[in-house]
C-alpha cells in the first residue's frame, strides 16, 4: 500500500514541478529580449552594463585634478606589466621631498581587464569605463597616457 501511495505522490509532485517549469518559461517569454542590435542602436538604445570593464581611465575633476599620488601600487598589482607609473620627486615650499605623477602609461593591448589595479588603488584614482569601441589598426595606438595634459594631483583637504 505504501508503495502505491508513493507512486501517486511521485505522480502529483512530478506534474507540479513540470507546471512550475512551464510557468517560469512563460514568464521569460513575456519579457523583453535582451539582445543588443549593436551597430544600429549604437547611438540610441545601446545598454552596456555599468560594471563592464572596457578600458582603464583616470578620474579627473573639473579643475583637471586627479587623485593619483604616484605610489605605484597599481603597477605592482598588475600581472601583465600593463601599467607604468612615471614619477618625479620635487621639493615643496617647506623643503620636503615629494613624489608626483608625470605620466601614467597604460597598454590596452596587454590588459586583461582583471581589475586588480583598481582594487589596489588606495585613492580611487583609476577606474574602468564603458567605452568599449577600442579597436584600432596600429598597435602603437593602444599605448595610452591616462593623466590629462597639465593635470595635477588634487590638493589635500
Amino acid at each position: 500500500m505504501s508503495n502505491f501511495s508513493e507512486y501517486i505522490q511521485g505522480y502529483v509532485q512530478g506534474v507540479k514541478s513540470l507546471l512550475i517549469g512551464m510557468r517560469t518559461s512563460m514568464k521569460v517569454f513575456c519579457q523583453k529580449p535582451v539582445t543588443e542590435q549593436y551597430p544600429e542602436n549604437r547611438h540610441t538604445t545601446l545598454h552596456i552594463p555599468e560594471r563592464h570593464r572596457a578600458r582603464l581611465v583616470m578620474v579627473h575633476d573639473e579643475e583637471n585634478h586627479h587623485h593619483c599620488v604616484a605610489c605605484g601600487i597599481c603597477q605592482m598589482a598588475c600581472p601583465n606589466d600593463t601599467i607604468k607609473v612615471v614619477s618625479e620627486t620635487y621639493e615643496d615650499e617647506d623643503g620636503k621631498k615629494k613624489k608626483r605623477l608625470v605620466r601614467y602609461e597604460y597598454d590596452l593591448g596587454a590588459c586583461m581587464f582583471c581589475q586588480l589595479c583598481v582594487n589596489a588603488c588606495p585613492h580611487d584614482a583609476i577606474r574602468f569605463s564603458n567605452d568599449f569601441e577600442n579597436a584600432v589598426f596600429q598597435r602603437e595606438k593602444l599605448y595610452m597616457v591616462l593623466n590629462n595634459e597639465g593635470s595635477s594631483c588634487a590638493p589635500k583637504k
Binding site: 513540470l18 521569460v28 523583453k32 529580449p33 539582445t35 542590435q37
Partner: protein, 367 residues
C-alpha cells in the same frame, strides 16, 4: 434538431465535383483522374514545403523569445522573414555525399521512407469540409499505421550510415517511438470511443455540438495531455529529443546525411510536429469545426462565418505553440527515464482513461 446548414457555408465539395465534371466533358475519365491526382499531389508537396518553412521560422522565433533573444531578424527586411527560404536554397545547392562502408541503397532510401510516412499522415488531416485528401472509414487507424513507417526510416538511416552516433540515435529513437505508440493508440482509442467512428471527417462532424475535449470532460482532458506528451515523443522533439542529442550524438540518426537528404529529415521533423498537433486538434479540439456551445445560438452563428480551414490552422498552430513551449522548457530525459515515464506512468494512466471513458460513454455521462 440541430441546424447543420452552417457546415455547408464553406463546403468545397461542390467545387470539386464541378471541376471533375468540367474535366470529364473534354477528356476521358482516366486522364481526368490522373490530372486531378497530379494536381492534388503537387498541392500536398507545395503545402508541405510552405508549412515546413513557416514552422521552422516559428520555431526559431519562439525559441528566441523563450531565451530572451530576438531570433532571425536580418535576412529579408524586418523580422528576418527570408531567413528560412534562404536556408532552404542553401541546402538545395549542397552536395549529397555517399559514404565509404555504408549500405548505399538503404542509405539513400531512408530519408524517403521518413518523408513518405510524414506525407501519408499529412494527407489525412481534415482541412475543411470537403477538403480532405485521403478519406477512408478507418482514417485514424491509417494515420497510426502510416506514421510507424517513419521509425523504419529512422532505424534504416541509423544502421546504413555505418557510424556509432547514428546507430545509437536510431536505436534510442526506435525504442522510444515504439513505446510511445502505445499511449498514442490508447488515447486515440479513447476518442474513437467518444466519437463512435474512426473516419476522420466523421470524428470532426461528431463534434458539431461541442468539441470532444468539452464533451468528454475529465477523461478527455487527461487524454489530451497524455496524447500531447506521447505525440511530442513520437515527433522526436522537446524533452524527448535524445535520438539526436547534440551533446552526445552530434546529430543522432541523420549525422552522416548532407544536402537535401538531411533536408528531408529536417522537413519531416517539423511536419511531424504539425501533424501531431493536427491530429490532436482533430481528436480533441474539433478539427475544422467552429467553436460551439449549446444554448448560445447567436455566438455559434457568428463563429460559423469563420471558414473551417482558418479554424483548423489556427487551432493547430496553437497546439504547435504549446509543444514548442514544452520543448524549450524541459531538459532532455535519459533513455531509462523516457521508458519509465511511458511504461510506468503514461500507459497505466491511458488505460485508466480508456476505462473511465468507456464507463462515461456507456452510462451517458458525456456532455
Amino acid at each position: 434538431m440541430n441546424n447543420n446548414s452552417f457546415l455547408d457555408y464553406y463546403n468545397i465539395q461542390d467545387l470539386n465535383t464541378a471541376i471533375h465534371e468540367a474535366l470529364l466533358s473534354v477528356m476521358p475519365q482516366w486522364l481526368a483522374i490522373l490530372l486531378e491526382g497530379l494536381a492534388v499531389g503537387l498541392l500536398i508537396i507545395v503545402l508541405y514545403a510552405v508549412l515546413a518553412i513557416i514552422l521552422i521560422y516559428m520555431e526559431r522565433k519562439v525559441c528566441a523569445r523563450f531565451q530572451c533573444r530576438i531570433g532571425p531578424n536580418r535576412v529579408g527586411g524586418k523580422g528576418g522573414l527570408l531567413q528560412v527560404p534562404a536556408d532552404v536554397l542553401k541546402i538545395l545547392t549542397k552536395e549529397i555525399i555517399s559514404l565509404k562502408g555504408s549500405d548505399r541503397f538503404l542509405y539513400n532510401l531512408a530519408p524517403f521512407l521518413v518523408i513518405l510516412a510524414s506525407i501519408f499522415t499529412f494527407s489525412c488531416l481534415p482541412w475543411n469540409k470537403g477538403a480532405e485528401i485521403l478519406r477512408m472509414n478507418i482514417g485514424i487507424f491509417f494515420v497510426l499505421a502510416a506514421s510507424s513507417i517513419g521509425v523504419l526510416g529512422i532505424l534504416l538511416a541509423g544502421w546504413s550510415s555505418n557510424s556509432k552516433y547514428t546507430i545509437i540515435g536510431a536505436v534510442r529513437s526506435g525504442a522510444m517511438i515504439i513505446s510511445y505508440e502505445l499511449s498514442i493508440g490508447l488515447t486515440v482509442l479513447t476518442m474513437v470511443l467518444l466519437s463512435g467512428t474512426m473516419d476522420i471527417q466523421n470524428i470532426v462532424m461528431s463534434q458539431d455540438r461541442m468539441w470532444n475535449i468539452f464533451r468528454g470532460h475529465l477523461p478527455a482532458v487527461a487524454a489530451f495531455i497524455v496524447y500531447l506528451i506521447a505525440g511530442n515523443a513520437e515527433a522526436n522533439r522537446g524533452p524527448f529529443d535524445l535520438a539526436e542529442a547534440e551533446q552526445e550524438l552530434t546529430a543522432g540518426y541523420h549525422t552522416e546525411y548532407s544536402g537535401m537528404h538531411f533536408g528531408f529529415f529536417y522537413l519531416a521533423e517539423y511536419l511531424n510536429l504539425f501533424i501531431t498537433s493536427g491530429i490532436a486538434v482533430t481528436l480533441f479540439l474539433g478539427g475544422w469545426m467552429p467553436l460551439h456551445f449549446p444554448g448560445l445560438d447567436g455566438f455559434n452563428a457568428v463563429m460559423d462565418y469563420i471558414p473551417g480551414v482558418i479554424w483548423f490552422v489556427s487551432k493547430t498552430f496553437l497546439v504547435v505553440f504549446l509543444l514548442m513551449w514544452i520543448r524549450w522548457t524541459f531538459p532532455r530525459l535519459r533513455i531509462d527515464q523516457v521508458l519509465t515515464l511511458e511504461w510506468k506512468y503514461l500507459m497505466p494512466l491511458s488505460l485508466l482513461i480508456l476505462l473511465i471513458m468507456t464507463v462515461c460513454v456507456v452510462f451517458g455521462i458525456t456532455l
